[in-house]
Symmetry: C2
């Protein structure tokens, strides 16, 4: 295991913003420093500085040169002091109007430096508190994962992205998974699901949790299923319960649990083109059918909530009946499960458990809006967390793209978090490069939605990059981009940095250069 | 120069459908042959055949093993006999209700084998004729490019994609450009723009035209600009006119001409973040400003139409004032030009010149719909042809993705053709692999829109691929996909073809496998 992983971004530095309500709060952000604009005015060189751009940062301590990283010891326990004397979940406090450190932290984080830029923002600690109280936003924060930085998932906040990692029986090692986790944070992953199904599930998760600066989710059924050697029928509530407690103790921040599958609805998937494509969903459906009994995830839902409440673990109500093909989208099976989720989310809230709702899947563009509108109506405003959706089935090897189209649209319509899809979806497990492509693709989808929703300050980075582009400040253009390394690599393969044109147009044909000489005509 | 370029698709064969009105018509398509479904029923093996899937094919003679390819001679002259006795443009005939070979050809082509599948279609030769007559659809077809297969661009037809190739002073050779042209057709490019700006513009174009089975477009201003050694002010109507005639004679099927830029509107771009990003637009704007005179492209528009009518060259009204950043989207400059285009398109139609309208560019998601609605209103239903739009500026190196999001949305809203963007956009000229990624990405966007618009038979391929996926017919899944080679490559890197699971889930965790055993429970 490497022990010295650091994250560096070009021309960037780690800065911290202080809390007002909690003056000890230090909210980490990334400041991208820019070069000045150089112009000729009346034959004289005029130099104008460009203010640095401050962006949301998911890299945690890995990008702070003053913090020593030791994977054996794990990350500093940022939230330890805050939670020492807590008596309930964040929702418990929010319902009483009590603002916690996490709430001010995420308010500062979401706003970046809007205040300094004179951009109005609706996001205050009070607003965060209200949104959490109403169930419209979730701050996943297991008391046993104090290493993670608070972040918020809700339709009135920046759209977040989740990345999936995890080994299987077939592939990869603990080392690789920890490296992928940090890699995911480097490129902008907001939460991380460890979907390991192979050997060493517990140990892999431990390494990830102790070294992960973002909330970690799991599908506890996977580990329970391993405990019964892959025989769905041998599962019991007790085995599942013990698995939940084990993972709560370790510090998992949210659980995907397919509680929405009811015995009476399992048959609805029978006439589908692609049946069930959710692993957790298919396992519990099989259990229901073999035993001809209501799912223990449904019948023990209140017990599950009691366990989660004790650790402030959020529940992600998994969509076991999500469509696996555009043909199956928006069918009776899918919507029956959504109705059940709407019932369950209120039961979770009654026990102060934070919750969100998982969504599809494969959905053609014209059926996406219905998914969002129906989710808002049936699930009372609980955050929606979707996998894509993929807008066509015909592009395996490019499903990061087919799904980013759907993901950006559904995020604009209101989805709070989108689960990334890599180019290897449907084909094999992603490697490190696939993770990078998947994360960047989803940052694009999320950011496009932030722009469309008018999130305060979302356009600051776009405008700075476009200005740099127009002024041929190539390095600034790269450094402001989502993947500075790749942009620079593509450019350098055929250009010299500093030129007032690129190989796309050559020296005479650059529209922006000609456009600038037009401006000169007027001077 | 290689002389033996062929295109092959796995498990596919070239088939031809015959015309009814014109029995000699042979419309080429690709038939993808599938393996049978093998099931166990009551302990017995049951084999069910899967019908082959017929898909739209842009590869022309290159994928027909019975046609000898000789790049020196050029492709067979498919349309030669049809156009021998023509007295006007396709629009001229359409207005009289006369159906030409091209019209039946595209009707057959758009429908694939819908009729045999029992799928109703609105697309008849009569419908094509009406759409062309009304200006709502364009069949680009220079009488001097008889090698190209008829295809139709219009909102009531399959969404088409254009690819750009072409050398510049800085880069690439004729050989490479011809290879890229065929490569673009292989992956699904519907039209091809040769944007060469370097030396040998005429010769490069000649090689491309004689060997290109799809319509070819150009921006004639590029060649005119080279003729005046890159000095915009030295351009004249005569130089431009002669360039047009030269290219008409060669066989270019459509011209992008930035006639929409008016002297009175040039100043509107001055307060933009990124000025003008259209090369043709910036050149003619500079000419206007230097001479303080109305653009000769505008003042000679009727002359341009007369030239185009003689050869049946379509005009693509270029958007010289398209926004180059999300900040500049939907501004006064952009919309003033659109108004002018609306005026010009009616003048083109009056002379029986087919025409379409180019659109942006960079537009955030919430401003896309306005572009489409306004274009329909101002341009009287003429087809819209957009570049993306890119929905954010912050992802150079991934702009095929930022733009595919916008392209799929605007196509769903009604755009008829989308111009591809490669990963190298803003950074350098694309290589062959970039062209492939750009084309596939845009096929995804176009197909997603076809599904959303409910184009007859569009979902047949999705459903066949999803069925193959569910039945673990891996090879069929690959062969039905937009990029069979890449899908297979990703799979084979970590799997053995034929297994009933993949490395994503491993042997025990495959949802689809578990889902199928559920079905078995009932039997």
């Amino acid at each position: 295991m490497r022990n010295d992983i650091k994250i560096e971004y070009p021309s960037s530095e780690k800065i911290y913003m202080r809390g007002e309500r909690f003056p000890k709060l230090k909210v980490g952000m990334r400041q991208i420093n820019l070069t000045p604009t150089v112009e000729m005015v009346d034959g004289k060189k005029v130099i104008r500085n460009n203010d640095p751009i401050i962006v949301y940062d998911t890299s945690g301590p890995y990008s702070d040169p003053n913090i020593e990283i030791d994977l054996q010891k794990g990350l500093p326990k940022l939230r330890k002091a805050w939670i020492a004397n807590r008596k309930g979940t964040l929702m418990y406090y929010a319902k009483q109007g009590i603002i916690t450190e996490e709430m001010e932290y995420v308010a500062i984080r979401e706003n970046m430096n809007c205040k300094a830029l004179g951009i109005e923002s609706h996001i205050t600690p009070e607003f965060v508190c209200k949104e959490v109280a109403a169930g419209r936003a979730v701050i996943p924060s297991n008391i046993n994962h104090p290493e993670s930085e608070p972040m918020i998932i809700g339709t009135n906040f920046l759209v977040k992205i989740n990345t999936n990692i995890g080994n299987s029986h077939e592939n990869s090692s603990i080392d690789e998974e920890v490296e992928k986790a940090v890699w995911s944070c480097k490129w902008g992953g907001d939460t991380l699901m460890d979907l390991s199904t192979g050997d060493n599930i517990h140990e892999t998760r431990e390494w990830i949790l102790r070294n992960c600066p973002v909330p970690v989710g799991t599908v506890p059924m996977y580990q329970a299923f391993e405990k019964v050697n892959g025989k769905a029928e041998d599962l019991t509530w007790e085995i599942f319960r013990d698995t939940l407690i084990e993972q709560c103790e370790q510090g998992v921040d949210y659980f995907t649990i397919h509680c929405g599958i009811r015995l009476k609805n399992v048959h609805l998937a029978k006439n589908r083109l692609t049946g069930m494509v959710s692993r957790g969903g298919s396992i519990i459906s099989k259990w229901c059918q073999v035993h001809n009994e209501e799912s223990f995830l449904y019948s023990h839902f209140d017990d599950i909530c009691d366990i989660c409440a004790k650790y402030d673990v959020a529940i992600s109500l998994g969509d076991g009946l999500r469509p696996g093909s555009t043909y199956d989208a928006n069918d009776a099976a899918q919507f029956a499960e959504l109705d059940t989720m709407g019932e369950l989310v209120e039961r979770a809230w009654a026990k102060n458990v934070q919750a969100f709702i998982e969504g599809p899947g494969h959905v053609p563009m014209h059926k996406i809006r219905e998914n969002m509108d129906r989710q808002i109506e049936k699930c009372h405003g609980a955050p929606f967390y979707t996998l894509g959706p993929l807008v066509t089935d015909i592009a395996p090897a490019y499903d990061h793209i087919t799904s980013a189209i759907g993901a950006s649209m559904i995020s604009w319509y209101g989805t709070a978090m989108i689960c990334y899809v890599t180019p290897k979806e449907h084909l094999s497990l992603p490697n490190k490069e696939d993770v990078r492509v998947g994360v960047i693709t989803y940052k694009i989808a999320a950011h496009a939605a932030d722009l469309a929703k008018g999130h305060p300050g979302a356009s600051v980075r776009d405008n700075a990059l476009s200005k740099a582009r127009y002024e041929f400040r190539w390095k600034d253009q790269f450094n402001l981009s989502l993947d500075p390394e790749k942009a620079r690599e593509y450019w350098e393969a055929s250009n010299k940095v500093g030129g007032k044109y690129c190989t796309m147009c050559g020296p005479n044909f650059c529209a922006m250069r000609i456009s600038q000489t037009l401006e000169d005509c007027d001077k």
